[in-house]
Amino acid sequence: MAAAAHSRVYAVLGEFEHAGALLKAAAGLRDAGYKKFDAHSPFPIHGMDKAMGLGQSILGFFVFGGAITGCFLGYLMQWWMGAVDYPLNISGKPFFALEPSIPIMFELTILFSALAAVFGMFALNKLPRPYNPLFYSKRFTKVSDDGFFLSIEQSDRQFDAIQCEKLLRDLGAVHVEVVEDLEIEEL
């Protein structure tokens, strides 16, 4: 633990041959008790959430909040602007009625939900993240092409670079490397 804190080691990165091997290895890391690890692939792999021991995404709650906000704002805006702040008499119709207000309430519901979905996703993923030590790895550029990787971060409680390297190899990694965070001053 103390050794890890003083080094520049950021993570141990293992490369796997294909999606199937990655899925199996991820399940292996989960079973070995690791928590701060991640699978990197050019496309989402079916069954990976289960293999990594992750539950459902909670994004839906953000979106529900956005939807309620949008709908309520649409109602409030049309009522306040049309009936309170500057009542407009349009051919003797009521200043405010629900029926003609529905299209705009609906559109604003969609707008706020969509904004919540996108920005909620960014927030949950902690994106944008321009700096990531993984990008120092030359091999890791394949992740957006045809590379399949597992990374175990040094912040994991069980982290030990040598142990992790061995474990990744045992799980079938074809190449393992230690990724260093070059921004950290060497002590």
Partner: protein
């Protein structure tokens, strides 16, 4: 060219749509092949045909700008709009362009929800088309207001009159519907692009490209903890875009249907407009894709099988609009309202009969040829039909706007609407705007969704590799001949 490829039927529901014996991607491509094929086009110099096409498009854009400048300088009198036809070309063009956009959302959202995995071949470019069509569409009502420097009055922002927009007007609903549609389409498109921006970043050779794509990709590492929320966001956006797209053209149709003009005041308008929008949009996607796949040699990704499926959708939606045209006549007769009946008889036999029958033959008769499988799979024929449908759908909006207005309740004010040269050049110019944006898109942006295409390849299924007797076993695998010869 006849390539052997693995049937996607064999590898379970994840890799194929399970209903087709045709592979989603032809030619047994590897993940790297897909990256190279798609990303490569956004990196190297475009094929020669791109330059004259771009030159022509920019010329059109120049005309568009010049016409708008001329309009602003002189006022809306330069158009053919006058009593009784107060809504001339600008509104026709507006409805036409919004409609074009709808196919993009249908492909990206509705087909996604229905798990039609063939959409991956075309969804990126169809979504781009949606965005650019919405840009074209929004420019028309903006210039139609005449004094475009007051366009902000349509938005609920404080102004010097201390007044707010009139929320009971369908025209204002339109402002909300179309601008929100544009915003959500942009979000959807951008979210879909993030993994592909990362691909472009990782392939970038120059410092500038690296920086630009790194900024766009926002640090994407393909992490599964990210994919988890990403996929959920994508699903939710698809779920939101689906009712949105249906609502947008319904709201556009309210502009007409909520009025009391005979020929406009009909309850059939919302579904009829939505079907027509999808129909016209698919025709536009078809026109663009037939050109793009041959110029960019993407026949393996955008297969004849995909185009055939689009033709089937055009056949269905074309028949729906044909049914709607006929229903309008029935309703006019059944209503026993004299002016209503006159409006429709005048449409089919009056001074604009030429426009009506152009519309009818292009939209209803031409797509019926798609009942024949040979025609459905013939590239030249589908190209011609797609152009005919584009023309027909423009005329549909022209017929609805013009014929309903030019002979109203007061025969003394009847008139014949003719466009001016400014009207016609503005319409041509809007195509310039559209194609300029579209050509820039295929020049700089991956025009096929790389990550999504990879996910539908058979080897993307983790169970594809399950070993049996030492070697990878591809259960119940059948090797089918790819019949596409192109």
């Amino acid at each position: 060219m006849s390539t052997e490829s693995h049937s996607t039927q064999s590898v379970g529901s994840y890799s194929g749509d399970g209903h087709t014996s045709e592979p989603l991607v032809a030619g047994s491509l590897s993940f790297h092949d897909v990256t190279r094929l798609v990303a490569g086009h956004a990196e190297k110099k475009p094929p020669f045909a791109w330059y004259p096409a771009f030159g022509l498009a920019v010329l059109g854009l120049g005309i568009f700008g010049a016409m708008i400048a001329y309009l602003i300088w002189n006022g809306v009198g330069v158009w053919g709009n006058n009593n009784p036809v107060g809504w001339g070309f600008p509104i026709v063009n507006f409805v036409f362009w919004v409609g074009i956009g709808h196919a993009g959302t249908l492909i990206s959202a509705i087909l996604f929800l229905f798990r039609q995995r063939w959409r991956t071949a075309i969804n990126r470019s169809a979504e781009a088309m949606t965005l650019f069509a919405v840009v074209c569409a929004l420019s028309f009502p903006t210039i139609h207001v005449g004094r475009i420097w007051f366009i902000y009055w349509t938005l609920p922002i404080p102004n010097q009159m201390l007044m707010w927009p009139q929320f009971k007007s369908p025209l204002l609903w339109d402002v909300f519907a179309v601008s929100i549609y544009g915003t959500v389409s942009l979000l959807f498109w951008y979210v879909g692009l993030i993994p592909d921006w990362a691909t472009m970043r990782d392939r970038a050779r120059t410092r500038l490209r690296q920086k630009v794509f790194a900024a766009l990709a926002m640090g994407w590492t393909g992490a599964n903890r990210h994919w988890r929320h990403y996929e959920r966001a994508y699903l939710i956006l698809a779920g939101l875009a689906t009712p949105l797209v249906l609502s947008v053209h319904s709201v556009v149709s309210f502009d007409f249907a909520v009025s009391i003009i005979p020929g406009w005041h009909t309850t059939i308008f919302p579904p009829y407009f939505v079907a027509g929008a999808i129909f016209s949009g698919f025709a536009m996607v078809m026109t663009l894709m037939v050109i793009a796949r041959s110029v960019y040699k993407l026949q393996n990704l955008i297969t004849v099988g995909h185009l055939e499926k689009m033709n089937i959708i055009m056949l269905v939606t074309g028949s729906m609009v044909g049914f709607a045209y006929t229903t309008e006549f029935f309703m006019a007769w059944y209503s026993q309202v004299e002016v209503e009946q006159f409006a429709f008889i005048n449409r089919a036999t009056g001074p604009y009969a030429w426009a009506y029958w152009t519309m009818f033959s292009c939209n209803v008769f031409a797509p019926q040829l798609f009942w024949i499988k040979k025609i459905r799979r013939s590239i030249p024929v589908m190209f011609v039909i797609s152009i005919l449908v584009n023309i027909g759908m423009w005329f549909e909006r022209f017929v609805i706007v013009t014929t309903s207005l030019h002979r109203d309740y007061l025969p003394s004010s009847w008139d014949y609407f003719s466009p001016t040269w400014v009207d016609i050049l503005t319409l041509i110019g809007s195509f310039g705007l559209f194609f300029t944006l579209f050509l820039l898109f295929i020049r700089f942006v991956p025009m096929v969704a790389i990550a999504e295409i990879k996910a539908v390849l058979p080897q993307a299924n983790p169970h594809y590799y399950e070993t049996h007797n030492g070697g990878p076993v591809r259960e119940k695998e059948t090797v089918t001949k790819n019949t596409e010869a192109s």
